[in-house]
């Protein structure tokens, strides 16, 4: 037996791990970033981190929060929920961070949120948007800085209801929570607004699918007026490219999730006339400081255009920053109080957090793809801004949804 080696190694490991504990120092505010750096969420996370870095650097240059500098401590969740829980625990117990932000995937967000809840430290989300985080599993230290997925599904339905020609719909939803929830809630809301609309087929490609041709032909066979595609990133790009070669866009219309990064990725392959919804396309924002932000961001990132994730990370940090100033504290309950009490004038206009679910009353942007001379990539034109208040579940509904989730147990 090599028991001695084994024992030695285990002891060494134990010592190495205990060595990482730090004494808590008063000076800087520690912001833990649990980021899905590797894995499916990599691209979105990278932009988000760029936006966050810009915001933190500016705030630090201006003296930080309440005279304290902000230190960010970043960890890679590998887009795996168990890893997310682990690094969150490490950030809170070893690094003793004061706040957390960052996750992208719904599952990672939920695992981070469940772990952070115990410590009562503020967690805010700018990419991950599952409504389970703010409603069913919401807690007093969770802040969602964008329209959650449920609101987004309702917003898409409100827009679809206003298109008189859309009567027969096929849905293509990625076979996971976001896909299913969005298709279900979109259909529900649309049927309320327009009982004449029919959803004739639901197709469910698996997450990570690269070949959509069979889904395209199956959708076209129904001769729909429009195809709602609940996909993101690579899946949307693949779907659009592959659909083109079936003459899809001559036969029907596409309505899909189209943040700026997806439009940039598609560029030349993007047919005009695709309808899309997005969370914060910089060119459609009506609030303050948009132009300056775009310039600063491009300067800091080799001329890259900021996508929705960069905008949201920056804007949400601004909102938290303002709340910290108003509360004169980084204490979670006080900051949450301030977030709910004050209107923030950010890039998306006047925004305020609702107390019951910690969700920003934030807009969704819906429009049609076109090309304009200012930007070298396709953008949404004729943008309709669907205000958060219009699609947010009421406080009663939130209470009901929470009770239903508890009863389902």
């Amino acid at each position: 037996m090599h028991a001695r080696i084994l024992t030695g190694l285990l002891m060494g490991a134990a010592l190495a791990l205990s060595g990482t504990a730090h004494a808590q120092s008063a000076a800087p505010v520690k912001l833990g970033v649990v980021a899905d750096i590797s894995g499916v969420c990599g691209p979105l996370t990278k932009s988000g981190l760029n936006g966050l870095k810009l915001a933190v650097d500016e705030t630090n240059a201006a003296g930080g929060w309440l005279g304290r500098k902000i230190d960010t401590i970043t960890r890679d969740s590998k887009t795996q929920p168990p890893e997310g829980a682990k690094v969150t625990q490490e950030l809170l117990s070893v690094e003793k961070v004061d706040m957390i932000t960052g996750p992208c995937s719904s599952a990672v967000l939920l695992s981070v949120s469940a772990t952070a809840k115990e410590y009562g430290k503020l967690l805010w989300s700018t990419i991950g948007s599952t409504q389970r985080a703010s409603i069913e599993l919401g807690h007093p230290s969770f802040f969602q800085a964008q329209a959650n997925a449920l609101m987004e599904a309702y917003a898409a339905a409100e827009y679809a209801a206003k298109q008189p020609g859309w009567k027969k719909i096929v849905t293509i939803g990625l076979d996971y929570e976001w896909g299913h929830m969005t298709v279900e809630k979109f259909t529900e809301r649309l049927k309320q607004r327009r009982p004449d609309v029919q959803v004739v087929k639901n197709l469910w490609p698996k997450l990570g699918e690269t070949n959509f041709s069979s889904f395209v032909t199956a959708a076209l066979a129904e001769k729909p007026d429009v195809v709602l595609s609940v996909t993101f990133g690579a899946a949307t790009v693949n779907l659009v490219k592959q659909a083109k070669s079936y003459g899809f866009f001559e036969q029907t219309k596409l309505f899909t999730f189209l943040p700026v990064d997806t439009a940039i990725a598609l560029s030349g392959d993007m047919p005009e006339g695709v309808h899309g919804f997005a969370r914060a396309p910089f060119y459609a924002l009506k609030g303050t400081g948009v132009k300056e932000f775009v310039e600063k961001y491009r300067k800091a990132n080799n001329g890259e255009w900021p996508d929705d994730w960069a905008v949201l990370a920056y804007d949400a940090f601004g909102q938290v920053s303002a709340a910290v100033k108003a509360a004169k504290s980084i204490d979670t309950p006080k900051v949450m109080e301030a977030l709910a009490a004050n209107t923030y004038k950010g890039m998306r206009g006047d925004i305020k957090m609702r107390k019951i679910d910690g969700n920003d009353i934030a807009p969704t942007y819906v429009g049609v793809i076109g090309r304009v001379k200012d930007y070298p990539f396709p953008v949404l034109t004729n943008v309709t801004i669907i205000e958060g208040a219009q699609v947010m579940p009421s406080e009663d509904e939130v209470t009901k949804m929470r009770a239903a989730a508890a009863a389902k147990k």
Partner: protein, 314 residues
């Protein structure tokens, strides 16, 4: 001293005392890290039984980690069962999976065995991933219970330590038992074992079930540790990670799985904090170990020891 440390009757109590002291005296951050490693140690040690002793390379060992975790979590979340019954549910779920998959898999050998374990694990993963109404789908069952059952980091760490040591002891006993000798005989040379009158399939099945049960226990510990379960528990990523651990530690010794888990987790812990290229780091270490030290970290240590202290005494 040497003999003292190599005797399990003394080693396990010693580990219990030392580990227990560590758990109770250290700050929660360190205890969390060690608790996480301990769970992986049990998981890797269970796979090591299959590979190093039974000669069965499973590509899908995480299936049982996931089954244990979900059996427990669903019992609590969906059926409101108290903890002891939930633990029983986790064990039964794992046992059911192990019996079905095991009965099928041991019909095959070598790479065909591996591929069937992969298929079984993917069926498990896909079922968990897609059965929204019951398993919660890809977003799992976050906070189906208070993390660590509401215990302090230290107390829960102690619970994990006791369970993991008990699990290791059980694995150790199995290997030393007549069954264990049969497992090794079949693992080394199935034809010879058959000639000796051993029912090879029954023996392999037994090894498969024991290993699966211990993986299930590890999965249950993980589920309680964070109060979460996710389909990732049964994913190919987890299956491969634990496979890497076993090879990294070194085949053909009981401590291989244990050492591999510790080394892998340490690399991961230290590298991923400072370097975005953590995958490359693990990849390079793997290549080095396999090419230059195919008997893993345990083998390296053994050779070092021989060099420093001369031939190991029996």
């Amino acid at each position: 001293m040497n003999r003292l440390l190599s005797d399990p009757r003394l080693l396990f109590p010693a580990a219990l005392v030392l580990g227990g002291a560590y758990m109770l005296l250290m700050d929660s951050g360190s205890v969390f890290a060690v608790t996480d490693i301990l769970i992986w140690v049990l998981f890797a040690a269970s796979l090591n039984l299959l590979i190093s002793f039974g000669g069965m390379v499973s590509f899908g060992h995480a299936a049982f980690f996931g089954l244990g975790a979900y059996g427990l979590a669903l019992a609590i979340f969906r059926f409101n069962l108290p903890l002891p019954l939930a633990v029983a549910a986790g064990l039964i779920t794992t046992l059911a999976g192990a019996t079905i998959y095991g009965a099928l898999c041991v019909r095959l050998t070598r790479i065909y065995f591996s591929m069937l374990t992969l298929a079984c694990a993917e069926i498990t993963f896909s079922t968990i991933f897609q059965w929204y109404d019951f398993t919660g789908g890809d977003t799992g069952l976050p906070r189906f219970v208070e993390p660590r059952l509401g215990l302090s980091a230290q107390h829960f760490g102690l619970v994990v330590l006791v369970v993991v040591l008990a699990g290791l002891l059980l694995l150790w006993r199995v290997i030393r038992s007549p069954l264990g000798l049969a497992i090794q005989a079949v693992g080394e040379n199935p034809a010879r074992a058959r000639a000796l009158g051993i029912n090879t399939r029954a023996v392999q099945f037994a090894a498969f079930v024991v290993a699966a049960m211990m993986a299930g226990v590890a999965g249950m510990l993980m589920a309680l540790f964070y109060g979460n379960v996710f389909p990732d528990y049964a994913s190919l990523t987890f299956s491969i990670d634990v496979l890497i651990m076993v090879v990294l530690g070194g085949l053909h010794s009981f401590s291989g799985g244990i050492v591999g888990a510790v080394v892998y987790k340490l690399i991961d812990h230290l590298v991923s904090k400072h370097l975005m290229l953590w995958q490359m780091a693990i990849g390079v270490v793997l290549l080095m170990v396999i090419i230059f030290a195919p008997d893993g970290v345990v083998g390296i240590a053994k050779r070092l020891k021989t060099k420093l202290f001369g031939e190991a005494r029996p």
